[in-house]
Structure formats: structure tokens, C-alpha cells
Amino acid sequence: MSAGVGVDLENLWIRFGDFVAVRDANVKINGGDFFSFLGPSGCGKTTILRAVSGFLEPSEGNVLIGGNNMRGIGPNKRPTALIFQNLALFPLMKVWENITFSMEIKGASAKERRKRADELLDMIALPGQGDKLPSELSGGQRQRVAIARALCAEPDVLLLDEPLSALDLKLRQHMRTELREIQQRVGITFIYITHDQGEALTMSDNIAVMKAGVIDQIADGKTIYNDPATAFAASFVGENNVFRGKVKRIMGDEALISTNRSGDLVARISSANQGKMAEGDDAMMFIRPEAFALAPNGATGDHFITARVNHEEFEGNVFNIFMEGEGGKELKVSIPNLGQSFEDHTGQNITLEYETQNAVAVPAGELAAE
């Protein structure tokens, strides 16, 4: 199988009147990748998808598919297939007619279509359901029919617009694995739009984190999680505790930050920002809940934090401790449950420690809304 067809966005601007939906997006998506655009609703990710599929002409810049500029080419002439957020299955057509709609357009005979539909139904594990109407299927089944319909058109690039958002949690988790498997089987490029960081992290080869029309960071999931480029990326992907402050001293790839509440703390400067932060700059430091460990009470130093415990909860795999944090926000700490005894600390002061490599410093910026 070939490496698939890549998609490039070059200096892409999309405006609606005065409103800028997408600001100077530059993305290179490799052929055969599972690529996700991750961001809160209204950040412009669906707009990008519509520009790629051809329903929208970019105001400036270009969309290239397989190196060919797509300007002026309509959605029905592009080698893309889109899976809509609400799936948009044709309600009056049977499942097999839905799946093979693209063949009907090309004038294939009913017999050929039926055969192809049966193959695809087998692939999506819905054998024998071809004669039902979409309304007679469950949500997950409809989902798979939509995928089969898109695949039947044999696109070079499959575009998915939050296709799992309408499903319940269990099904969503199951479909994640299934989508990933299908993508690996057919080997074509998937571009996936989501506001769910769990979906993006589990399925994607690469992720673009978007905020208000701007792409903050493009990297693989691990990098985005461990080494966020901006405060937004750090706060949007996964749970994170933020510490605001000013850079006191730069020590190679580490920085000492005098935080507003917890004194001077040391953190690793994220790779995207190395050399870009200077002493006296406003900075933010992020430590994940699971990166803390309990320390002997009263220990001090640049990697110890002492605070009062507001309340605690037991979640099964972890104990969660919520402590007084900065600006009314609580500091969350998750201690893995390994069968150890765990006393209640509510109302007491406790001290935490962390390893420097687990704290990330980035320039101060906008945080993701809760």
C-alpha cells in the first residue's frame, strides 16, 4: 500500500465578514496519518475541515491535497469524503443504498452495488443489515454505516467531524479503537475533528491544538501532553495545575519561577519555548495531578509545595486531594492507590514534592476555560 495522500494547508485564512475563523494556519499532514484538530467549540476546526472538503473557499492561502492546489474545485471533485457530525445518512434510503450512493452516482448497477455493500457491511461488522433503514439502527451502527458510506467512495482523505460526539461514553470508547483499526486497515489519511482530548490522544498520530482560529501546537500526543508549547495547550489537554508567577532565573533549560503563592519553584522550560523566556517575564508553570508525591511535613525547597487540604475523595484507582490553590482554583493531586493506608488530611497542611522534569514552564497566556 502506498503511503497515502498528504494534505497541506498553506497560510490559510478564513474570514466571515469581520470575523476571522482561521488565522494563518500552516499544517502539513503526512499521507496515511491519523491527524486530529483538537480545540474547544468555536475554535475554527470545523471551518478548516469544510475548507479541506471544499464546502468553503479559503479567504487566503491554499489547501493542497496530494500536492494539488484545490482552489476552485468543488466538493464533488475532491478526493475527500466527509463524515458529518450528525452523520447525514439519507433517511429514505436503505443501508446498502446509503453505503453505495457514490457508486450510484457513477452509474453502477444495483447488483454491483449490492455486492460492494455486503463487503463493506462485513468490514464494519454489520452483516445482513443492508435492508434496514438508518432509523432502524442504533447510534453505533449508524456511525459505522456512515464510515462505510465514506469509504465506499474510495477517498484519498477521510474527514471526520466529531463523529463520536452523539454517542454515549461506552460506545465512544469502543468506537475510538474501531476507528483506529479501520484507519490502519485502509491506510488512507484521516483528518479528525474533536474537542475531546481523550479521543485525540488515543487515536492520533499527530494533533493540532487550536484556540480561537489559531493553531497553538502541532505534535504527537505524547509531546503535547508532556511538553506543551503554550499555556492553552497545557491546560486544555489533560488535567493540569497552574502556577502563575515571574521568571526569577534561567538555568539552561530550567527556570526558577517565583510563584504568587507557593514561593520559588523550579521547572523545565518546554522545548518550544527554550531560549524565548527571559528573567522577569510573566510565566506559568504546570504540574499534572499525578506528578506529585507526598513529602515529609514542613520540607522546604524549590520543588516542595505546602498547602491546606480542602477535601479528599477516593476514586478507586487514585486518591484525589484538593488543596487550596491560587485564585480560588483548587490544586488537585492524585495519588495512585497501591493498597497503602491513606489517612484523611482534610483541614491539615501537607507538603508535596515533584520532580523538576514533570513541571513545565511556558510564557504566561490564556488558559482553556473549565
Binding site: A81, N86, I105, G128, A150
Partner: protein, 435 residues
């Protein structure tokens, strides 16, 4: 509990009144179609007859009117549904700020009186006809063309309203999905949007046909050489109506009920099948052994349809063999007898009156002079002369009238059924005769 049952009772009472109000005229009219009197009446019931139906089917003008109405209806359906669909699509595509204005404009024809639409259609197309230098017998002044165009101006708006309602439930993503899968705009329209709109298009077509069929006030200006049924009926009614028109109305009512029942039965059937499919297991669906519900089970509309069909067949069957001649002859005979009896009674009453009057005459003659016999002239003293005097009807009755005194001469002269009404002497009253 008592007040509750009272409430129920009044609800039923109200419903009964409401339906009587709604359906009563139709029922009465249907009855008149089967009653034999020349004038449509439900009572007194005389004879069951089907002659008004045959009279209807022998009336060239009515048949021609029906044919024209069907032609106009078909044309209007095609034109109105097409225009309505275009208008509805436009409404969903147009720039949102213009939408309200556009909607008002497109709805306006419904609010304009049909008469105005009729006149303006006539004037407008006549103008165009002249501008193009065409004669009076050109296509543009053809009654069929003008009627279709004229009716469609407002029927298209009705269609649009029906279609917009459905279109609002259309997910534009379906068209986008079709485009995305390689369809052209035409293909997306034909294969996705049009099938979705089909039920609404059918409703709009039925609505358009009915609106066209019953239209009078627009058509009355435009029909030209093609009078539709409503026009023909209106012209007929001017010269009095016969039960043949009731027969036509009855046929239309029956056809309507038929169509409504058939539609309802079809809808129920679909619902039942859908429910059965939902309940069916995968294996049943696959093997094709799914049990579909029986045609009549829990489908009252289907039962009603069959009953109505049987009734129709039975009625038509009866009509072909049934002859009301004997009954009509009996009724005629009975009527003749009644009339005779009435005449007899009348004569008798008059004879009695005459006798009484003769007695009064004799009395008044005794105590008054002959010149003052004025009251003896009786009714003749009024301006109507003897027109309302029962004796005048007979015409020949005056011969045996004892009133042959001084005023006898003018009375004798009239000698007609009008009595003395047209006798110039009578106008001034009988008084001066006596002088």
C-alpha cells in the same frame, strides 16, 4: 363525580352540535339527490330515485365543465407545485435579512381577493398579447391558459407554505453529503432532496387541485371558452337548481371520503409495518420470514374503505335494476287526488259563504236603500278588485253569484281569474257605481 359526568355530557353535546353544523348540509344535500321532487328537497320524502344521476350524466354542459375543471386543475397542479417548490427553496437559501420581506411578498397573493387576481390576470395578459401583436384567438388569450395562470398566482403560495414546512425539517447536510460523495447539484437534488420532499409535494398537489377545482372568483374573469364546473354550476343556478346538482355534490363527497380513507389506511399500514420491523429480530429480517401485520388488523381506515367500496357497488347495482316509475306514478296519482280534494273543499266552503252572504244581503236590503248597497260589493271595493276573492278563481263562478245587483255589470265584464283587478272601474272602488 357528578360534575365530571356533566362535563363529559356537555362535551358530547357540543361535539354533536358541531358535527351537525359541519356535516348537516352535506347530509341534507345527499338526501335530496335521491328524492324524486323536481326541486331539491329532503322532506317530504317521496320516492327513491337515481334519475338525477342519469340526468347529471346527460347534461353536456356539466360534463364539459368537469372536463375543463380537470384540465385546469392538472395545469394548475404542475405550475403551482413547480413554482411553490422553487419559492420554498429560495426561501431557505436567501440571505437571512431578506427572508421576512421575501416571505411577505410571496404570501401576498393569498391575501389579495381572487376577483382582483382574476381581473389583473386578464388585463395583464391582454396587454402582453397586444404588445406582441397577437390576435384575440392567440394562445395568450386562451381561456385555459389564462385560468391556469390566474389560479396559479395564489395557489402557488399555498403550495409554497406546505413545501416550506417540510423543507424546514430538511438537513442541508444531506445535500452536502451527496455532493461530498461525488454527486452533482442536479443529482443531489433529484436523488436526495426530491425524495425527501415527495410527501409534501403530494400534499401540495392535492391541495392545488382542490383549490383549483373549487375556484370561482378568479376563474369567472378568465375562463373564456372553457367554463369550469363552478362556472357552469353558477350559471345553472340562475335558472333554478335541480337535484342533479345534489347528485354531483354527492359524487364529490363520496370521492373525497374515499380518498381520505384510502390515504388514512395507507398511512396506518405504513406505521404498522414500521412497528413490526422495529420489533422483528435480526434473524427474522434476514430470512425474510418477518410476519407483516394483517391488512385489516387494527386498521379501521382500511375496514372503512372496504365497507364504503361495498356500499358503492351495492348502490350502483341497485340503481341499474331499480325503477321508481311505479312509485312516482303513485305519488302523482296521490297528488292529483289531494288537489282534487282541495278543490272540492274550496267549492264547498265557497258555497257556504255564498249562502251566508245571500242571507246577509237579504237582511241589509230590508233596512237600507238600494243606492247604499256598497258593502255588498265585498272585496271588490279594494284596489285589488276581486283578485283575492276565492270566487274569482273559478272565473265562471260569477254566474251563480247572487251578487247581481247594481254592481253586477263590471263584475261580469272581468270574468277572468284576475277578478276585477284590471278593471279601471274597480280602482275607484265600487262606491260611485251606486251613485
Amino acid at each position: 363525580m357528578k360534575s365530571f359526568s356533566f362535563l363529559r355530557l356537555s362535551v358530547w353535546f357540543y361535539l354533536a352540535i358541531f358535527f351537525a353544523y359541519l356535516l348537516g348540509p352535506l347530509v341534507i344535500m345527499s338526501v335530496t339527490a335521491f328524492n324524486s321532487p323536481e326541486f331539491p328537497r329532503a322532506s317530504p320524502w317521496e320516492c327513491l330515485t337515481f334519475e338525477w344521476f342519469s340526468a347529471l350524466f346527460q347534461d353536456e354542459r356539466i360534463l364539459n365543465g368537469i372536463w375543463n375543471s380537470i384540465l385546469v386543475g392538472a395545469g394548475t397542479v404542475v405550475l403551482s407545485v413547480a413554482m411553490g417548490l422553487a419559492g420554498a427553496l429560495m426561501l431557505t437559501q436567501i440571505w437571512p435579512k431578506l427572508r421576512a420581506t421575501y416571505y411577505t411578498i410571496i404570501i401576498a397573493p393569498i391575501l389579495i381577493p381572487g376577483v382582483v387576481l382574476g381581473i389583473s390576470t386578464l388585463v395583464f395578459w391582454d396587454r402582453i398579447n397586444r404588445m406582441l401583436g397577437l390576435g384575440v384567438d392567440s394562445f395568450l388569450s386562451n381561456g385555459l391558459f389564462l385560468t391556469i395562470i390566474g389560479q396559479s398566482t395564489f395557489i402557488a403560495s399555498y403550495c409554497m407554505l406546505v413545501l416550506v414546512a417540510r423543507l424546514q425539517r430538511y438537513d442541508i447536510a444531506l445535500t452536502e453529503a451527496a455532493l461530498d460523495l461525488g454527486a452533482t447539484h442536479t443529482q443531489a437534488f433529484r436523488k436526495v432532496l426530491l425524495p425527501f420532499m415527495k410527501p409534501a409535494i403530494a400534499s401540495a398537489a392535492v391541495l392545488a387541485f382542490l383549490a383549483s377545482f373549487e375556484n370561482y372568483n378568479t376563474t369567472t374573469f378568465t375562463f373564456g371558452e372553457y367554463p369550469t364546473l363552478t362556472i357552469e354550476l353558477a350559471q345553472k343556478v340562475r335558472y333554478g337548481i335541480t337535484p342533479a346538482i345534489s347528485a354531483l355534490a354527492f359524487i364529490i363527497v363520496v370521492l373525497t371520503v374515499f380518498a381520505a380513507l384510502a390515504n388514512e389506511a395507507n398511512i396506518r399500514r405504513k406505521e404498522l409495518v414500521a412497528a413490526a420491523r422495529k420489533d422483528a429480530t435480526v434473524e427474522e429480517l434476514e430470512s425474510g420470514r418477518m410476519r407483516l401485520p394483517n391488512f385489516f388488523s387494527s386498521n379501521w381506515a382500511a375496514v372503512g374503505l372496504v365497507v364504503l367500496a361495498c356500499l358503492t357497488v351495492a348502490t350502483v347495482g341497485t340503481a341499474t335494476v331499480y325503477s321508481p316509475q311505479q312509485c312516482i306514478a303513485d305519488i302523482r296519482e296521490q297528488k292529483r287526488l289531494e288537489t282534487e280534494q282541495r278543490i272540492q273543499e274550496l267549492r264547498q266552503r265557497r258555497a257556504e259563504e255564498a249562502a251566508r252572504r245571500a242571507a246577509e244581503e237579504a237582511e241589509s236590503g230590508a233596512d237600507s236603500t238600494g243606492g247604499q248597497s256598497k258593502p255588498a260589493a265585498g272585496g271588490n271595493s279594494s284596489g285589488f278588485g276581486g283578485a283575492f276573492a276565492p270566487s274569482a278563481l273559478g272565473g265562471d263562478s260569477s254566474t251563480d253569484d247572487p251578487d247581481t245587483g247594481a254592481d253586477a255589470a263590471p263584475e261580469q265584464d272581468s270574468g277572468s281569474g284576475f277578478g276585477g283587478a284590471f278593471d279601471p272601474n274597480a280602482l275607484s272602488g265600487g262606491g260611485d257605481d251606486g251613485n
